[in-house]
Symmetry: C2
Subunit: 341 residues, 2 copies
DNA sequence: CTGAAAGCGCTAACAA
DNA sequence: TTGTTAGCGCTTTCAG
């Protein structure tokens, strides 16, 4: 079938070893180099990765272990990792744990048995059992999206706190005092951080933090809808809302429409992530942007370095800055009074 | 490091070959079986897939080659394929061609060089070059979502024509005569089929087919928004619209809201796919449902059979039936007149 | 710089 | 049934 290194050796009149050396970048006499290159050309020789892997115990594959493929963050992550690593000869395996800690651990084990060369983990379980398992196996690991307590590792995250702190500050600077937040699950790392940023901003400005202005939308569209409904029906509804992810933002937007509220006159809105909805609606929505592609790329690059054996600065934590886009979806709450007069 | 089959042989006092046979399901004397099982247990032996692969030239990996990870159809596909194939020991590789035919071909070549055991293809290029390449290499292949002309292969598709035909019939039966459709790209297989179904339904009922009632939204949220805007601003706007995918449906829904039109009084709406939006809005939206999970599972099962060497009924085409959900997002156009009187 | 040879972990053909 | 042995395609000593 396919030509082997042996065929190349035969055709070029050299030995197996010499050809192998050439292929692996070791110096070879100029004339021989040409001979080998010609043979490879003629035979259409392609090195067999399986055999190579058996010798070097590597598989030229990396895995992305993640909670759910339905999340935009996860797919965007995979996409940039694949773009970077495939040209380097790596295959990207996707492994979904379906928001189940036991399955996450089991799949981590599976991947280690399959001897993947590296793992990029978007953790579900925050106790860090998966991390221990992988680290005990000495497989290069990059953790993305969360910091897992007591489990140091190379980590890529967003500055989640700033991602909400800045927008809330912005709302306050416009004169808002009744600012609500729609958060993800209370036990979720990013959700917590984004809530922290919200509270920090209010506290800094000596504004009270009201329980009823903090609604959990579980990072889902349905949850965002329900949360917005509750906020709007409060006796003293907020004049501005920050929403901690895109899915909830869609839900909240639909809720606002159904209630016939106007953005920004009735309610100022700042959401999360730069996805289709925010730009097509009128007015376009303000949002904090998580540079997911860049984060994926950073993760892939760091993993690549680790797989090559470069352990410098381990464990390294890279914190990406959010970007902010402010549009006519926010305005001073006074505007409304003016309109009414 | 990890125990090898050799260690198991030593520990159980048997030969390499015997242990190998046991592992591969060949008969072994009962007492020896116990010996081997115990040794495996004690040594925590796990077969090395790389070595196995080198012998059998297989990699225990399958690839999903697809246009874009941002499509819900694609991720849902991957998800069900992974669920079925991972427990069987296969790893699922994802490979994105970014809507680029040349890249699709190049990545197909990469996957073949990496000797994946099978490929599930959601085609981008409809000329079928990728298919030829893969078939010439004798790698098991399942094509999903499209039928590529002159390139017979195992194929899993939705009955796309029926997915639009039935809803349009339904609208006609309610009394609508001004029915529009928002389609994907004109050269796209599923888009074309769904358009066919629309036209067939109208034709059967002797209703005219108007060019201006057929708007292309390119399967994107933005496109759906624009298309709906155009339809609404027509001198004689449609009383009902069928939308051929979910992303465009979100866009169209936002457009309808921005125009202050009411569903279903001003416009009856039937969309596509069972995703969050359709159920949270008020009224919930009617839609054709593509059973993506089931299609993914069917694809994975068929691929598995092919990889095991079962070639029965090749090439097999499996056509999945759409499901229909009708809600209060549609009503008779007469209702509107009544309201106005 | 080159060639010969050993061996990565496993399977399969063959002989016993 | 079981054990022996020859490789799958490649890398890497080690002599030359």
């Amino acid at each position: 079938m396919a030509a082997t290194i042996r065929d190349v050796a035969k055709k070029s009149g050299l030995s197996l070893g010499t050809v192998s050396k050439y292929i692996n970048g070791h110096p070879v006499k100029e004339t021989n180099r040409l001979l080998i290159e010609q043979a490879i050309q003629e035979l259409q020789y392609k090195p067999n990765n399986i055999a190579k892997g058996l010798r070097n115990s590597q598989t030229f594959s990396v895995a992305v272990l993640l909670p759910m493929l339905t999340s935009n963050f996860c797919t965007s992550m995979i996409s940039s990792i694949e773009s970077y690593l495939l040209p380097k000869g790596y295959t990207v395996i996707v492994c979904e744990c379906h928001n189940d800690a036991a399955m996450e651990l089991q799949k981590a084990r599976f991947l280690l048995d399959r001897m993947v060369d590296g793992i990029i983990l978007i953790p579900y379980d925050s106790t860090g059992k998966q991390i221990e398992l992988i680290q005990n196996n000495h497989t290069p690991l990059i953790v993305v999206d969360q910091i897992i307590k007591d489990h140091p590792s190379d980590t890529i995250i967003l500055d989640n706190q700033r991602a909400s702190y800045e927008p809330v500050k912005k709302l306050i600077s416009l004169g808002h005092t009744k600012i609500a937040i729609i958060t993800g699950g209370i036990d979720h790392y990013t959700s917590q951080q984004r809530l922290n940023g919200y509270e920090k901003a209010l506290r800094e400005c000596h504004l009270p933090i009201y329980k009823h202005y903090i609604q959990c939308g579980n990072y889902s569209t349905e949850g965002g809808y329900e949360a917005m409904m509750k906020l709007a029906k409060l006796p003293d509804p907020p004049t501005a809302v920050f929403i901690s992810n895109y899915d909830m933002e869609i839900g909240a937007y639909i809720a606002i429409n159904n209630l016939n509220l106007k953005i920004p006159e009735d309610i100022s809105l700042i959401g999360f992530d730069n996805l289709p909805l925010v730009n097509i609606v009128n007015p376009p929505l303000s949002f904090s942007e998580q540079p997911t592609d860049e984060m994926g790329l950073t993760a892939a690059k760091l993993l690549y370095r680790r797989m090559l054996g470069d352990q410098s600065d381990y464990p390294k934590t890279l914190i990406h800055a959010p970007l902010f886009h402010y549009t006519d979806s926010i305005c001073s709450p006074l505007d409304k009074e003016r309109v009414r007069l």
